[in-house]
C-alpha cells in the first residue's frame, strides 16, 4: 500500500496469480467490462504474438471517496502475473508490494498438478521477498466451471471447508464469479490494511464503508457485502467461518 497524505491518495495493489492458461487475463478483461467506465483506466496487456501474457496485465481502478476527513482518492491497481514457469523472476517482481492475492486455479482435474505447482511457486516467491502466505490476504478462484472434466462442486466445497482460504467459483470467460472474487479480495485486503495501519482512524473510512463505496463507484452500489460473501470456506479474521 502507498499512502500519500499530502495528495490524499491511497494506492493498493492486488495480484492475480495462478498457473499458465488458468484465466488470469480473462479475469481482468471481464473485470474491466464489469466496472463503470468513469472509475477504470485502460487495461494494459503486455502479450506476445500467441496471446499469452509475456510480463503482466494491469488494470487501474480509481475512485473518489468522501470520508469524515474529507475527499480521498483511492487507487486500486490490479495485476496478473505470467503463468509460464520460465517467467519466475517477473512473477516475483510483480508480487513486490502486493496487498492481496487472488489465486486463479483451473478447475479441470487434469490441471491439479499445475495448480499445486503454481501455488508452491507463489509460496516460494513470497518467501524470497520476505513475506509469508499466512499474513497475505488471499482468495482462491476455481475458474472454468463451465468445462467438462472439472473437479465437482461437492469436491471443491468439501476441500474449501477444510482449507483456510475462501474459495470462489467462476467462469471468467462469461464474467461469472469475477466480481465476487474481486470484492472478496478487496474486502479482505482492506481489512488487513485497516488492522495494520489503522486506516479507519487515519482516513475516517471503515472497512465496510470502504467496500460499499468502492462497489458504488464501480457501478455495483449496495452489492458489496453480498458479492464478497459469495464464497465457500475461509475463516474471516476475528469471526466465524462464513
Amino acid at each position: 500500500m502507498q499512502l500519500n497524505f499530502a495528495a490524499r491518495e491511497v494506492a493498493i495493489k492486488l495480484v492475480y496469480y495462478g498457473p499458465a492458461l488458468s484465466g488470469k487475463t480473462t479475469n481482468l478483461k471481464a473485470l474491466h467490462e464489469l466496472v463503470r467506465e468513469g472509475s477504470r483506466g485502460r487495461l494494459m496487456t503486455l502479450e506476445t504474438k500467441d496471446d499469452r501474457t509475456l510480463f503482466f496485465d494491469m488494470l487501474p481502478l480509481v475512485f473518489k471517496a468522501e470520508t469524515d476527513a474529507g475527499s480521498m482518492s483511492l487507487r486500486v491497481k490490479v495485476f496478473t502475473v505470467p503463468g509460464q514457469v520460465v517467467h519466475s523472476s517477473t512473477r516475483r517482481l510483480v508480487l513486490q508490494g502486493a496487498d492481496g492475492i487472488v489465486f486463479v486455479a483451473d478447475s479441470q482435474t487434469a490441471e491439479t498438478e499445475n495448480n499445486a505447482e503454481s501455488f508452491l511457486d507463489l509460496r516460494a516467491n513470497l518467501k524470497e521477498l520476505g513475506r509469508s502466505l499466512s499474513k497475505m490476504p488471499m482468495v482462491i478462484q476455481f475458474n472454468k466451471r463451465d468445462l467438462p472434466n472439472v473437479r465437482t462442486d461437492d469436491e471443491i466445497d468439501d476441500l474449501a471447508r477444510r482449507g483456510k482460504e475462501p474459495v470462489y467459483k467462476a467462469c471468467a470467460m462469461r464474467g461469472e464469479g469475477v466480481l465476487e472474487c474481486f470484492f472478496g479480495l478487496l474486502d479482505r485486503s482492506w481489512q488487513r490494511l485497516d488492522a495494520e495501519h489503522d486506516l479507519k482512524a487515519k482516513l475516517g473510512l471503515g472497512p465496510a464503508a470502504f467496500l460499499e463505496m468502492a462497489a458504488a463507484s464501480l457501478g455495483h452500489a449496495g452489492k458489496a457485502a453480498a458479492l464478497s460473501a459469495a464464497c465457500v470456506g475461509g475463516q474471516r479474521p476475528g469471526g466465524p467461518a462464513t
Binding site: 502507498q2 494506492a11 495493489k13 483506466g41 485502460r42 494494459m44 503486455l46 509475456l54 510480463f55 503482466f56 494491469m58 487501474p60 480509481v62 475512485f63 482518492s73 487507487r75 491497481k77 495485476f79 517467467h87 523472476s89 517477473t90 517482481l93 510483480v94 513486490q96 508490494g97 489465486f103 486455479a105 491439479t112 498438478e113 495448480n115 499445486a116 501455488f119 508452491l120 509460496r123 509469508s132 502466505l133 499466512s134 488471499m138 482462491i140 471443491i156 476441500l159 474449501a160 477444510r162 482449507g163 483456510k164 482460504e165 474459495v167 470456506g233 475463516q235
Partner: protein, 492 residues
C-alpha cells in the same frame, strides 16, 4: 539486481517502478516531436493554436501563430502586459473536476483548457486558443478599458477576421485531442513498461545463468573425479573378489557332488559349508556392487506404471519357504489396494524383499511378519497459522500415497537407533551379526531406492515387541517423472 538503474529524463527508473504506483510523466513517455506534429495537424485543420503543458507547468508543445488582432494589441505596452497576464492565467487555471474550462481574454477572444488524465491522475493540460466564440461581434469594453491607446476600429476589423467557433464544435475538437493524446500516452507508457521489463528479465536470466554455470562447472569437476574413483573401485571389486570366489564355489560344488571321489559324511558337511559361505560372500559382493552403483548414481531405474499388490504378492511367495523353515507366520493383508504408482517394479521388489527378509531374520520361531497396504489421501484440516496448511484445497490431491508396512514380532530397534540403521554397514548391535548374520547393506539400499521414488521409509515400534517398517510411495498423479537412475547421495 546489482546493475545501476537506468534513468529517463532526470528520474531514475527501476523495474519495481513499473509495477508500483508511480505517476507517469508525459515527458518520460511521449516523443516531443511526434506530439508536436500531431498538434500541428489540429492547428492546420481548425486554425486554433495548441499548447501542451506538463503537470508541473512546463511547456511541452507550442504550436501557435499570432492572430493579427493579437499582434495589434501587443504593439501597445499596456496590451502586451495584459496579454502576458492572460496567457499565464490560462496556463495555470484549474480545469476543475470536469477537466474542461473556458478562460476569457480581455479582447473578447477565449482559451479552452482541457486536462490530460492518466490512471486517474492529472498529468498535464492542453490549452486551445485564443479563438473567437461564436457570438462575438465587436471588441468588448474591456479591450478599450485595458488598452486605451488602441485604434478600436482597426481592432474590430481584425477581430472580425478571426473565424468564429461554436462551443460544441470546440468541445468536440478538445475531446478528440484529449482522447488521442491520452491514447498516445497509454501506448507509449505500455511500450516503456515492456522495454523496462525486457531489460529486467534479460538481466535476471543472465544472472541466473551465470550462477547455474558456476554450479555446473563445480559439479562437473567433482563428478569427474568421483567417476574415476568409482570405476576403479568397481573394477577391483568385481575382478579381484569375484573371480577367485567363483572358483571356490565351483570347486566346492564339484567336491560336494563327489566328482573327485567319495567324501566322508563329515568331509561332505564341511565342503557344503564352504559352498554355502561362498554363496553368502557372493551375495555380499553383489550387495556392495549395488551400493557402489547407488553411490555413483549408475543404478538405473525403469519407470513404468506399477501396482503395488502384485509386487508384494511375489515377494511373499518368494520368501514363503524361508518363513516356513523358520516357523514364522508370513501374511499379506489388504492385498488389493488399487493405486497407480510410477516406479520401477523390479527395484520395488528388491526393497520389499530386503525388508521382509530382514524381518524374518530377526523374528524368532513362532513369531509373525505381516505386510499391510493402504492408500493415504493426505488432507489435513485447517489448524495452526502455518504456511504448510495453506492451499490444502490445491495441494491435497498431490499428496496421495500408498503406504506399505512390514511389521514383525522380532527383537525390535530402539528408537534412538531408528535413523542410523539406514546407514550402510550399520547394525544396531554388532553382536547380532554373529547371531543373525547379514552385512548391514540391505536397509541402506532400501532407503536409496525408496528416496529415488520420491517416497519415505521410517521405523516404528511394534507393541509389545518388534519393529514396523513404514514405506510411503507417492501415487502416479503426485509424481510425474522418476529419475532415470537412483541419484547418488547428496554431497558426493
Amino acid at each position: 539486481m546489482s546493475a545501476p538503474s537506468p534513468t529517463v529524463g532526470n528520474t531514475p527508473v527501476s523495474a519495481f517502478d513499473v509495477v508500483g504506483d508511480v505517476t507517469v510523466r508525459i515527458e518520460d513517455v511521449v516523443d516531443r516531436d511526434s506530439l508536436e506534429e500531431m498538434c500541428r495537424s489540429i492547428q492546420t485543420l481548425f486554425g486554433i493554436n495548441v499548447r501542451v503543458y506538463s503537470a508541473q507547468g512546463a511547456l511541452l508543445v507550442n504550436v501557435a501563430s499570432d492572430l493579427d488582432v493579437c499582434t495589434l494589441v501587443n504593439e501597445v505596452s499596456a496590451g502586451r502586459l495584459a496579454c502576458g497576464t492572460t496567457v499565464s492565467a490560462a496556463k495555470s487555471v484549474d480545469p476543475g473536476d470536469d477537466g474542461d474550462v473556458v478562460h476569457a481574454c480581455y479582447t473578447g477572444l477565449a482559451y479552452r483548457i482541457v486536462s490530460l488524465d492518466y490512471e486517474g491522475r492529472r498529468i498535464g493540460r492542453i490549452v486551445l486558443g485564443p479563438y473567437a466564440p461564436a457570438g462575438l461581434r465587436d471588441a468588448p469594453p474591456s479591450l478599450e478599458r485595458t488598452v486605451t491607446k488602441l485604434d478600436i476600429f482597426q481592432a474590430n476589423d481584425r477581430l472580425s477576421q478571426v473565424a468564429r467557433v461554436k462551443p460544441e464544435a470546440l468541445a468536440r475538437i478538445a475531446r478528440h485531442l484529449k482522447t488521442t493524446l491520452e491514447l498516445i500516452i497509454f501506448s507509449s507508457h505500455k511500450a516503456f513498461v515492456t522495454s523496462k521489463l525486457h531489460l529486467y528479465s534479460v538481466r535476471e536470466s543472465y544472472r541466473a545463468l551465470e550462477e547455474k554455470t558456476a554450479r555446473l562447472e563445480q559439479a562437473l569437476a567433482k563428478l569427474k573425479e568421483l567417476d574415476r574413483l568409482k570405476s576403479n573401485f568397481l573394477g577391483t571389486v568385481s575382478h579381484e573378489l569375484r573371480t577367485p570366489l567363483t572358483s571356490i564355489i565351483g570347486y566346492s560344488e564339484m567336491l560336494a557332488e563327489g566328482i573327485a571321489g567319495p567324501l566322508s559324511e563329515e568331509q561332505s558337511e564341511f565342503v557344503k559349508t564352504i559352498h554355502g559361505k561362498g554363496e553368502q560372500l557372493l551375495g555380499l559382493i553383489m550387495g556392495l556392487l549395488d551400493l557402489s552403483k547407488l553411490d555413483s548414481g549408475t543404478m538405473s531405474l525403469r519407470q513404468a506404471s506399477t501396482q503395488i499388490a502384485p509386487v508384494l504378492k511375489e515377494v511373499v511367495s518368494t520368501l514363503a519357504p524361508v518363513a516356513l523353515k523358520k516357523q514364522v507366520e508370513l501374511t499379506l493383508e489388504s492385498d488389493n489396494v488399487a493405486c497407480e504408482l510410477s516406479g520401477d517394479a523390479e527395484r520395488l521388489r528388491q526393497v520389499f524383499l530386503n525388508l521382509v527378509e530382514n524381518a524374518l531374520k530377526f523374528t524368532p520361531r513362532g513369531g509373525k511378519v505381516t505386510l499391510r497396504t493402504r492408500v493415504l489421501d493426505g488432507v489435513g484440516g485447517p489448524s495452526d497459522d502455518d504456511d504448510d496448511d495453506a492451499g490444502s484445497v490445491l495441494l491435497a490431491p498431490m499428496r496421495r500415497e500408498v503406504e506399505v508396512t512390514v511389521s514383525d514380532t522380532g527383537i525390535g530397534i530402539p528408537s534412538s537407533e531408528r535413523t542410523r540403521v539406514f546407514d550402510a554397514f550399520y547394525q544396531v548391535d554388532s553382536s547380532s551379526t554373529r547371531e543373525y548374520g547379514g552385512t548391514g547393506l540391505g536397509l541402506s539400499i532400501v532407503k536409496r531406492i525408496v528416496d529415488a521414488h520420491g517416497g519415505t521409509v521410517t521405523i516404528e515400534g511394534n507393541d509389545p515387541a518388534g519393529t514396523v517398517f513404514v514405506v510411503r510411495l507417492p501415487s502416479a498423479q503426485a509424481r510425474r517423472t522418476l529419475p532415470s537412475r537412483v541419484p547418488p547421495p547428496a554431497g558426493s
